[in-house]
Symmetry: C2
Subunit: 360 residues, 2 copies
């Protein structure tokens, strides 16, 4: 196909308090399958958002998941799927409420509920053949773009790679900026910078077009309002803006690609378990030769928001670890191709990639 | 419902040459209903785009429609629907290819093929109860936002008003900027200004939010690139941008509303048959007291592109005509409410609206 025919989120509701519309929105879906819903919620909300706040039904299943120990794994999704199916059979739908990891788990779970075998079999493009159950995303932190992307990124025994296909896209997203009010400042910064880096990488590469650039440019403007311009900082008005920026940054990637920072980030996360957005920030500060304007502005945002990032990490890494990280990153040719053009293989060699990791 | 839960276009393909993807895209839909497609195409393309270029099937029906005599009417859609159903029964889908009028006809036709009676019965919000057939839009001129809106605006015997509901939204849009290459300069300006005016009206009113503002601001930036900034003018690069601006301007209205210019425009079109985008331009130049910055910039764009608009039109209008126009405009309270706030009834009286028409 000449140009990507992209699948939109079917329905989007945006606005303060829109979380309260959840029961009304899923009510018509409750007649599907075994007539119950699964909620997958970040354990941060365990004593804050329960059956009462969700207005859930007694037959529903609520899982609180701690995403802190590691990025979502294929094993985690498979186990959850098996448990749900053996308990109550196929649900009407899955509601995911949390950050990018929870969005990824909810998307992957909805697919794995209807597709046999392990999720490791489906890591890649268009490998999923059966539509999943209805799935709805409620982001509680802005920036990853996972609420809009057609990929559910999982770390497997062999690779960190997304289940990427049209079926992955949410049927519904509820964008309620009020839910992001309690995000700690450091994570507010790291996740927002995921959007910022998406847009910089999307823009500086060979694959973008006017659609990608328009979405990316607006998301960058919003990031500047949130992190750099007069009036910046963690305010309700900026929470509103950052939630839109995250969506637009994600849409910017529809006709473009992420680049060097994300390729390295996957390697760092896979080997050291570093959380995605934080890994991006740790890496991006060292890429001034590749993204000069973006890294300069990123550093200004770091300073403005009084955020310090670790350096010198690579001093403690073994050659074996560096080789492993480089292998994961090298195995993402579409990112290197976008960033460096058709001759990317000559530039992004394993040795070069290792040299980039040594900067950290 | 607290916040609108908006229906997206299911799928969007954007890019130069994407028109060629049409047959591949509709192929899977051809198994629906009576297994044929209806094409509704602007008569401008009558000797340019036929069965060969469309790669259509012998069983398909192609209609070329001249949109110049008037804006789309309820009668026109009803007649076309009756003819199609009596000829071949329910089609698999409808493809609309042209400007805003053709988009409106295609959307309304797809709904009226499955909903009984006259389309006049469905002018308003959520009056359509049965989903229409699959419908696909291919805009060949950018600006109206009709490719993304949930409304199919028709002029009936009594009112100019849209069939507005979730079912109206296209299942698929093909955005191929190459198709806009042959648009005459004056209409390129008028229709692009429809987007510009959408964004100004969306922004200056009580109903917007961060989502609307972000989409509107980016569409305004793109309009400036196309009509005002260095590099402006009708170039391929700007055709690319204007097609994105049109989409974003339409999405800006998701959580906002048009305002004074559109309210007046509906009255002018209903009584004098003036085409929508041109009517907007004729009116907007006189609204500097209501939209000061927007009108100043609009005038700069007029000058930069050497476009002159008629003035003094109202001199030849009768009181009866002015009353009729004002009545149509007055009957759009949501636009006046957005523009003037909760006290709009005290401001936007029939006399005041007549006084605005007298400026023309």
């Amino acid at each position: 196909m000449l140009h990507k025919n992209f699948k939109n989120i079917d329905r989007v509701v945006y606005g303060r308090g829109s979380f309260s519309q959840l029961p009304e929105i899923i009510e018509p879906v409750r007649k599907e399958n075994n007539r119950y819903f699964v909620y997958v919620i970040d354990s941060f909300f365990e004593n804050k958002i329960g059956a009462k706040e969700l207005n859930s039904k007694p037959e529903d299943l609520i899982y609180y998941i701690d995403v802190n120990p590691h990025e979502p794994t294929t094993e985690q999704v498979d186990t959850l799927r098996d448990e749900i199916l053996s308990k109550k059979g196929l649900p009407s739908g899955v509601v995911g409420m949390g950050g990018g990891s929870i969005m990824d788990i909810a998307k992957a779970l909805s697919l794995m509920l209807t597709n046999p075998g392990s999720s490791t079999q489906y890591q890649g493009l268009n490998l999923v053949k059966v539509p999943g159950v209805y799935h709805l995303g409620i982001p509680t932190i802005s920036g990853t773009g996972a609420e809009v992307s057609m990929t559910a990124v999982l770390t497997g025994p062999e690779k960190k790679l997304g289940l990427k296909c049209d079926y992955t896209v949410f049927h519904q997203v509820i964008l309620d900026p009020e839910l992001t009010a309690t995000v700690p400042t450091d994570w507010w910064f790291y996740t927002g910078m995921d959007t910022y880096i998406h847009c910089i990488e999307s823009r500086y590469g060979i694959k973008n077009n006017a659609f990608s650039l328009a979405y990316g440019n607006q998301a960058l403007e919003l990031c500047r309002d949130v992190y750099l311009n007069e009036g910046s900082g963690k305010t309700p008005e900026n929470d509103d803006k950052l939630m839109v920026a995250s969506l637009m940054g994600g849409l910017s990637l529809t006709y473009s690609e992420v680049g060097v920072c994300h390729a390295l980030s996957y390697g760092l996360s896979k080997v050291h378990g570093t959380r995605h957005c934080y890994a991006n920030c740790i890496i991006f500060q060292h890429l001034e030769d590749i993204y000069p304007e973006g890294v300069r502005e990123f550093k200004a945002m770091l300073e403005k928001n009084n955020i310090s990032l670790p350096r010198g990490l690579s001093k403690t890494w073994t050659e074996k670890e560096l080789d492993e990280m480089a292998a994961v990153s090298y195995n993402l040719p579409f990112m290197w191709h976008h960033a460096f053009g058709d001759n990317y293989r000559e530039i992004a060699t394993p040795d070069y990639i290792k040299s980039l990791f040594r900067r950290l």
